[in-house]
Amino acid sequence: MNYLVTGCSRGVGLEICRVLLSEGHDVYGIARSHSEEFKLLECDYDGKLFFKSIDLSDCENVRKNVFREFVHNGIQLHGYVNNAAMAYDDIVTNLNLGKLRQMYAVNVFTPMMITKYVLRNMLLHHTQGSIVHISSVSVHTGYKGLAMYASSKGALEAFSKDTAREWGERGVRSNVVVPGFMETQMSSSLTAEQKDRIYKRTSLKAATDVHSVAETVAFLLSEKACSITGQNICVDNGTI
């Protein structure tokens, strides 16, 4: 199977690529930076893993940058993992419109445009494909400073549900994985004390395991999940 994964250079995106490659799939990765870890993975999976450096805040040129110059119509896509995201943390009274717009370009507008062309690829090849968006526990449990970020992920969750309803009759599924806080670069700005407080809110009292998130994404992409669509799957150590 051929899968498109955004934000592939590190963290969850890199782990998703690793899991999909270990299952024998071909992976088309997009990120801004070509990280050393990703290059190592390319060495291990020569001819199975492809990379293009793309600025995902450029939502105007998705068709050209992604679907003309990288994943063209000759490549039949079976799935798309929308993982790339940027965090913009601040309290609401400090909200800066420029930063908000930039975050929405990366977290919402570009993923929606990519979904448009992924669906077109699936229509062209009559593929019963699977789309997985990566959201955040902050959509469902409030955290100080994350209102803007959480709102962008909430938009994705709504987009996914309605995409599922719209394209279900063509066999295309759309789901969301909602991870808890992980030990990745996205949460690297938090202090040990802040992290500890966040982890205490979970049932398992720990950071969410990145590999568990990646395995859940791979499951949702696979035929094993053929009856699951329009869902948000929480992988968050039980933030209840």
Partner: protein, 74 residues
């Protein structure tokens, strides 16, 4: 160009067990005359885009065969 469009439209109609049409006319309405739904039009769009590298839905709705041909002639 018109022949290619005819082939694509008939492929879509055949998949829905509708009889093929012999010819296309500029005034044919894609929905009411040719029986294409919004999903069929989406498939038509991607097939035309794949063939001619033109997105016929880029600037809004398309209603007739003539409107598609005009976009492809540009």
């Amino acid at each position: 160009m018109k022949n290619k469009l005819l082939v694509i439209i008939n492929d879509i109609r055949r998949a829905k067990n509708q009889p093929v049409v012999d010819d296309l006319h500029e005034n044919d309405n894609l929905r009411s005359d040719l029986g294409l739904t919004s999903f069929d039009l989406a498939e038509l769009t991607v097939r035309v885009e794949d063939e001619f590298d033109i997105d016929i839905f880029e600037d809004g709705l398309v209603n007739t065969v003539g409107e598609i041909l005009k976009k492809l002639e540009k």
